[in-house]
Amino acid sequence: MASGRFKKILIANRGEIAVRVISACKELGIETVAVYSEADRYSSHVRFADQAICIGPAKSARSYLDIPSIISAAEIANVDAIHPGYGFLSENAGFAEVCETSGLAFIGPKPDVIRLMGVKEQARAFMRDMGVPVLPGSTGVLQSPEEALEVAGQIGYPVILKASAGGGGRGMRVVREAADLAPLFVQAQQEAGAAFSSADVYLEKFIAVPRHIEFQVLADEFGSVEILGERECSIQRRHQKLVEEAPSPAMNDALRAEIAGVLQKALAAARYTNAGTVEFLMDEDGKLYFIEVNARVQVEHPVTELVTGIDIVKSQIRIAQGERLRSILRGPVTLRGHAIECRINAENPETFAPSPGRITGFHVPGSIGVRVDTWAYTDCVIPPYYDSLVAKLVVHGSDRAEAIRRMRRALDMFIIEGIHTSIPLHKRILDHPDFQEGRLDTNFISRLLAPPAKAETLA
């Protein structure tokens, strides 16, 4: 079923990514069907789709995560394919399977590949076997605190415990010495169980000052795999990315080519198809270690689009239609200039408390080198039920210095009134000398937000 031109696609998502997919479909001449919860009745994706179907109440579990409702909507709208966006059902192998058995193309990797990549320590083992550098760690799920102690002893502290099915920081614990391992192991298991309905955890070497670097992948259904360069996403708060850029200031052509070569081989062997991202940590010496594969399009895909000129979402759809990567890309992947993305969230820039509510004034920056991906508009209401992403502000410049200055002026010219947003925080990040000089690591935000050395105790 995953071949032949699509006439109509259902987008099983909301917010900016739903608008992004609708944009891609419009450019391909494909009709679109939006699904929405009752809270999203006035969202842009409902307006811009050719057809829109309400699939449930505000709560995600009964709407955007409800597989029968979405499949039903696809059936009554008579679509050929479903694009899952990111989050929600995008990495749910079961959903991909139901699509297949319902005669619908799932725009993403095959269910077995999603499943392999979803179980992190399996993915890690696979990648290690294929010659991709991985962090020293346990060879599989840890059965007991005792086993964890033994493995940690071999690797050396600090180590980090991670949920096999995890993501977003839940089920993670850094262990700095052997005495802490057993209680933290139990905590990690409990948190993993609660968050992912699997208490499996594994363990690997902990890098204290890592960069987060990831490679964008496109793969067709005929075994061709292309690497579209890397992104640096080290600016994170509690594992939530705030700023991403491409290329990474820490990367060089030789290392990029080396990793691309290894990944092409490994992903071809995994029969990986469609888009995906391979995440790495870079240690203080500039060495890369595989962490995981995100088997879907990613929030930060625009920075790669800007430097490569390749439309990743349109590529996803065309791959799922059975087109060859060769005819989609029409030439070697080349990088031009530098791109930066800021995730503008509806949250207090100091306390990080979510700030849902009505946007009373909304004016996006424009002019040269500025791209905005958003579902918001003047008078829209940011509902409290979903993530806080209001807009992705992305800039492209001839080099990193120009991109930084461009982002800074775009932040100055981005007006959002009525709610709190992260714009003031983004200005602080952009103005920081470490950021400007490319000295990035995943602790950057903690340092930025750290209170002055001697915090006074309130009486």
Binding site: C54, G56, P57, P68, E75, I76
Partner: protein
């Protein structure tokens, strides 16, 4: 959808005093809002969401827009004795157990709680939708074989 059908829907919305009523039939859609002023939107498919950015009560003069919401005043008084049966799932609405068979209920018929009113087919499963109140079926709002979305009004039942 005919003008008479739309008129009936507006009447229904006004009687019940609900905040909003949206009915989609194939590519047609009607949305009626009842907070102070009832606004009616009726636009063909490609423009189906055309007016969504504009709060109905404050709709501007869209220069060359193909359809403009019609506003009608109403007191919006609630009618607690009229109960709307809404679709609890997305799917295809069937008024009878099988093609050619008589419908589960007809307008004017008296129903008791638990009485099957219709079927919604979702993922090849037939889901029976039952009445939750005793009353008289006053309106049937969807044609058999038509798709329904979540929360779409199917029947109006006058509780007795």
């Amino acid at each position: 959808m005919t003008v008479d059908e739309i008129r009936e829907l507006i009447k229904l919305a006004m009687e019940t005093g609900i905040a909003e009523l949206e009915v989609q039939r194939g590519e047609d859609r009607v949305r009626i809002r009842g907070s102070g002023a009832v606004a009616r939107e009726f636009v063909a498919a490609p423009q189906s969401a055309q007016q969504l950015f504009v709060p109905a009560a404050a709709a501007g003069p869209p220069a060359a827009a193909p359809a403009q919401p019609v506003k009608e005043k109403t007191d919006g008084a609630a009618d607690p004795s009229l109960v709307l049966v809404k679709a609890p799932i997305v799917g295809t609405f069937y008024e009878s157990p099988s093609p050619g068979a008589p419908p589960f209920v007809r307008v004017g018929e008296r129903v008791q709680p638990g009485k099957v009113l219709c079927i919604i087919e979702s993922m090849k499963l037939m889901n029976e939708i039952e009445a939750e109140v005793a009353g008289i079926v006053e309106s049937k709002l969807v044609l058999s074989g038509q798709p329904v979305e979540y929360g779409e009004a199917l029947f109006g039942i006058r509780a007795v």
